[in-house]
Amino acid sequence: MARPFRLTRDAIAPDAALSMLAGAEHEPGRDGAASIFLGTVRRTSGPEGGHGRVLGIEYEAYDRMAGAEWERIAAEVCARYPTVSGIACVHRVGWVPIGETSIAVAATSPHRREAQDAVRDAVDLLKARLPVWKKERYQDGSAWISEVGSG
């Protein structure tokens, strides 16, 4: 099962992750469904925007481990949904202004349920485990933001 991964400093096109799965199907026309998740940098952060207006986000990655951890996450997801042909992730690093895409995750499968569930699960898992960090920049400061509690 294909599990491509890429870190990039460049803008991420909507089909960036999906295009990495070209040829992942066991035979052409096997997969009737493709599911794509795109994460975008938001204008506000914190509960009800309590952190104030976000100018953009600086993403940092532990390059060597990001690919390895995606491999583990994708393997778990593929084991859970064996009809999925492949699942791909492209994550941006460096400065990402508001409104731009920070992450794309895509999966394909014969029918829609598995592709949609696989993408959802992969996003949940990578938000908890991928060694990538986000530093939000505000008008008057910055802060490391995590949805994860203590390690």
């Binding site: 481990m65 951890e69 960090w133 490391w144 995590s146 994860v148």
Partner: protein, 82 residues
Amino acid sequence: MKVRVRLFAAAREAAGFDEVEVDLAAVRPTVAEVRRALAAGHPALGRVLATSRMAVDAAFAKDGDPVPQGAEVAVIPPVGGG
């Protein structure tokens, strides 16, 4: 045994370096011993360490796991990917 530890994000900012070295008395140290040595040698890291996971050779490690000679250890503060 000397252990090279990579620091990321808030850990790097707290220590002021992206990599530090700790010298451990044990021949076969555990991840927990590396944590303690980091906190002792770099007190500014204390708070971040308390909420960070550790990685050994690019995989999350538990405190009881061994640290092989030459392994790449890293402090992984709370992540924010996606």
